[in-house]
Symmetry: C2
Subunit: 569 residues, 2 copies
């Protein structure tokens, strides 16, 4: 009972030994993360098509719930770029942005995603996420980064533009280009340039000026806050809002409200697939961050419990005015680097953000949307990395095809189609490859007991005996391929009297493959050819015995290929 | 050029050496097959929901076209039970039986199926059929047999009943049961009983009476013809048609007509999936018959060319008033047993059927539909075999689940859903299994150089070294599983300094798995643990070298696990 409690409430593990040192470290980390999260949360709400306060709300309850249920000590949960983009894409097809229905649909999406994540965690179905291959994720993140950056250009230009893929966005932006709002553009370009410079040039400069490394780090992380403050002041002082600069405007001064998702069957059924994709993508992104950070301290992450933690976080988001969340890379790394020792750091961050939501929102009335867009653009462009194309091309054409399809379809059609196509293509190509396994005809390396591919090595063969090595487990998709190979070989050479299958690489034989072996055995015997096996693994041998295949086998089972050759000579 | 011609026109191979002896054998086989095919063709047309002459037409052009393009010497192509059922199921949802649209839809289905088969043959895509696992096929055939038998009961009872799955059929039959036509029922039951007796009891009886084996065989095969003749005579003599017995009635006296399928985009799009499933099921059924017969004479079947042969046959069917066809089991076996030596036997059969279509159709005016139904029932009940359930249960629960799903869904919903679900479930279960590969921690068997599972054998281990053997190729679906296993093991035991992966069963490492290995390597090194590999296969080693993984590896690559242990001690 107690161990079950501990399994589902990791807080009971670290809570027991929580002390003043850990408290201090966690509080410092929380302060730094809070400062960083305020502009980021507002920006990702904007990206998701929601009012800015939704970003703050989505960072408060989820971070606390993750602290209770999650297993990572440093993961910070909240809105992240790719999931916010996927939220906008999912909702944009169903309801109009800016309506009350849109916000409710966002809650529903978070709720569904939470239920799915919880379900996968409780039923230990996290393996589903494994079908998202690394190259597909890399391609998807890169393409998403481009779409996100493109989607923010409208705020920099001060125009209206819409679209959920690159083609739509570019077309819409070009159409509206003549409406460019020049003051907004100047603010946007300056903010973007400044943020890029903070990221690349500020820290070396400060270090050169003799500033301590820690202070230089904090200054770098405070960059976005500085831009927010400066541009807000500029708009206020020069009355730029009246000159057409789009601002954040009124934001309610409030703790996260209690909200309810919609259970309209229509809406739910339309959001099921997006919620599933968001859950999987979010989980994969989150767990890889969590594992990276845990490894540095030799801590353990339990993937199934992580699903529960993220599920709880999303349910929390749906009940407190948020939208889908997950563990974010940059905020978690900042949290870790700032010295967070336990998930309590997350709880303190939540308190910081709650204070911000109650007290600081009037201060961002004049914050230009262009500044938030600049924050997003600078953050996501670091995600864009086309090197996966080069790497996968060099490594394997199947991986390359999956990446290319993911990138092109995400850019051309949208995130859901892109990632689904990538996963689908990976699976199809994997099945295709394993349906045509490598089958080598082998012969004896003279003077040894080793058998090698006759096409690659100088080996001795016996015209009466065909030795075939199958380099793959046998299952339904490749069983008939083996049949064809063997019949081809035997019918084209009438002198053959024995076929020996070297089974050292066969880890499993399913029922289809067993029936194929039986058929091969029968048909070969009708051709007056005997079938033998060699080097069969223990578990495979057990299965063959249980199925009485060995009783039917016309030939024998040999311990080694060499033994087979000696016996058949 | 010449060899390409020979590849696509197998007729050029056997045509050159065709002589009088082969001619005689082929003619005799053709005569026997023709007699058997006349009632069978009529019956399968009835099953497909088409007028009886469509069955004759579907046996004429296809058999000739297969003779030209196919590689089997004995395969007889024409309407078969399961494909006819699938035709009825596909068309029943779209058009009303008995209308002109229905016949045209049947032509269209044959046309689409022909195009798909040809396409798969030309582009060598026959491997697609391999995803239909043996157990799924066995379950599907059994369930189809039951549905076919149930669908024919209405003809035996002389009532109207409809449905494409067992539930609908049973419900419909029970509803209409009070309308049972008693004379029809008597004819149907007698015909069914007689045919069962011919199948089981006639041959032993004749042999006991001293009849020669060959003559007894012919008598057995002539059983259906005898029933046709007797029941037709009975209806004619006693005027039973006027008393309500449903008869075949007017059948046009004509050679196969030239027909055109419809290219209406609506119809075509509705028939695409059924045509694909019919193509795959037909191909699988046909090739397994062809290979069984070819093996008996050590002849070669080329699966890709078989696709072309079947594709041509279906295109032929669609242009000459037929419906989807494939190589049939019983007719091919009869053809083979009767001594057919070349595909020319098929051409002679076509001539026989053409004569029947022109000259004999008036004779079947009074043939009761109940007789044809009896022929079908007796033929398909031999397909019903539930032993696959027992066999797969004993062999593997995954195979069992796929079979059970196929049988239940085919019976409860229909053929298309049933077979699709079976294939889908097989693939999902296969992916699931390979996503959780067997990973054994191994130790040294004392006094040897062998390493075995520490849970199964008494072995020596070193507390600083963890030896893991992975019994599966590494790819995206199981890469993270390996990561989790390793982190779990290393974080739960702080004394570990080395992890050695024994790679003897790894046939392939894809890019995701490589990246997982890189991540494992990095994270382990952060935990101050070195990663080593042992017994890496040649091709895998090449790939790792090309990707520069060996440069990053913190540990070494050892030729054997024993060598690794010695070096790390």
């Amino acid at each position: 009972m107690h161990s079950t409690l501990i399994r589902y409430f990791p807080i009971m593990t670290w809570g027991k030994t929580y002390n003043r040192a850990a408290l201090t470290n966690d509080m410092i980390a929380a302060l730094i993360v809070t400062i960083m999260l305020i502009p980021q949360s507002l920006a990702y709400a904007l990206l998701a098509g929601l009012p800015p306060e939704a970003g703050l709300y989505a960072s408060i309850a989820p971070i606390v719930l993750y602290a209770i249920f999650g297993t990572s000590r440093a993961l910070a949960v909240g809105p992240v770029a790719v999931v916010s983009l996927m939220t906008a894409a999912a909702l944009g097809n169903i309801v109009d942005q800016g309506t009350a229905g849109y916000a409710i649909a966002a809650l529903t999406l978070a709720f569904l995603s939470g239920v799915m994540l919880l379900g996968m965690g409780l039923f230990k179905l996290g393996f589903v996420a494994n079908f998202l291959s690394h190259p597909v994720i890399a391609g998807f993140i890169t393409a998403s980064g481009i779409i996100i950056a493109a989607s923010q250009l409208k705020h920099i230009l001060g125009i209206k533009a819409e679209g959920h893929n690159l083609l739509e966005l570019v077309h819409s932006i070009i159409t509206h280009l003549p409406e460019t709002q020049w003051i907004t553009l100047i603010i946007g370009v300056l903010a973007t340039g400044f943020l890029f410079w903070v990221r690349k040039g500020l820290k070396p400069l400060l270090l050169k000026l003799g500033v301590a490394k820690g202070a230089a780090d904090v200054a770098t992380k405070a960059g976005p806050v500085a831009v927010v403050v400066l541009t807000t002041l500029a708009v206020w002082l020069f009355g730029l809002a009246d000159k057409g600069v789009a601002i954040v405007g009124d934001v309610p001064q409030s703790l996260p409200p209690l909200t309810m998702p919609s259970f309209s069957p229509d809406l739910v059924s339309q959001l099921l697939l997006p919620a599933f994709l968001i859950s999987i993508i979010g989980f994969v992104e989150s767990i890889s961050v969590a594992q990276t950070l845990a490894a540095k301290k030799r801590q353990r992450i339990d993937p199934d419990q992580e699903l529960i933690g993220l599920g709880a976080a999303n349910l929390g988001a749906s009940l407190t005015g948020g939208f889908p969340v997950t563990g974010g890379f940059s905020r978690s790394v900042v949290n870790f680097d700032a010295g967070a020792e336990t998930p309590a750091a997350g709880a303190y961050t939540a308190i910081g953000l709650a204070i911000a939501a109650v007290a600081l929102t009037p201060l961002i009335y004049f914050l230009p949307k262009a500044t938030l867009a600049a924050t997003i653009i600078v953050a996501v462009l670091s995600l864009v990395d086309f090197s996966i194309l080069k790497r996968s091309w060099a490594y394997s054409k199947a991986d390359f095809a999956a990446v290319l399809a993911t990138i092109l379809l995400t850019l051309a059609i949208g995130v859901e189609v892109g990632v689904s196509a990538g996963v689908g293509l990976s699976i199809v190509l994997h099945l295709y490859k394993s349906s045509k396994p490598h089958i080598a005809e082998v012969g004896l390396v003279p003077g040894t007991e080793h058998y090698r591919n006759i096409l690659r090595h100088k080996v001795e063969t016996d015209p009466k005996v065909v030795n075939l090595r199958v380099d793959e487990s046998l299952y339904f998709a490749n069983a008939r391929f083996l049949e064809d190979k063997i019949y081809d070989r035997v019918t084209s050479d009438k002198g053959v009297r024995h076929v020996v299958l070297q089974c050292c690489a066969i880890n499993e034989i399913d029922l289809s493959a067993l029936e194929s072996l039986e058929t091969i055995n029968t048909r070969l015997s009708e051709m007056d050819v005997k079938l033998h096996l060699s080097e069969v693994k223990g578990p495979v041998m057990d299965v063959l015995k249980r199925a009485h295949f060995l009783d039917e086998l016309t030939g024998k089972v040999f311990l080694s290929q060499f033994e087979a050759a000696t016996a058949l000579r």
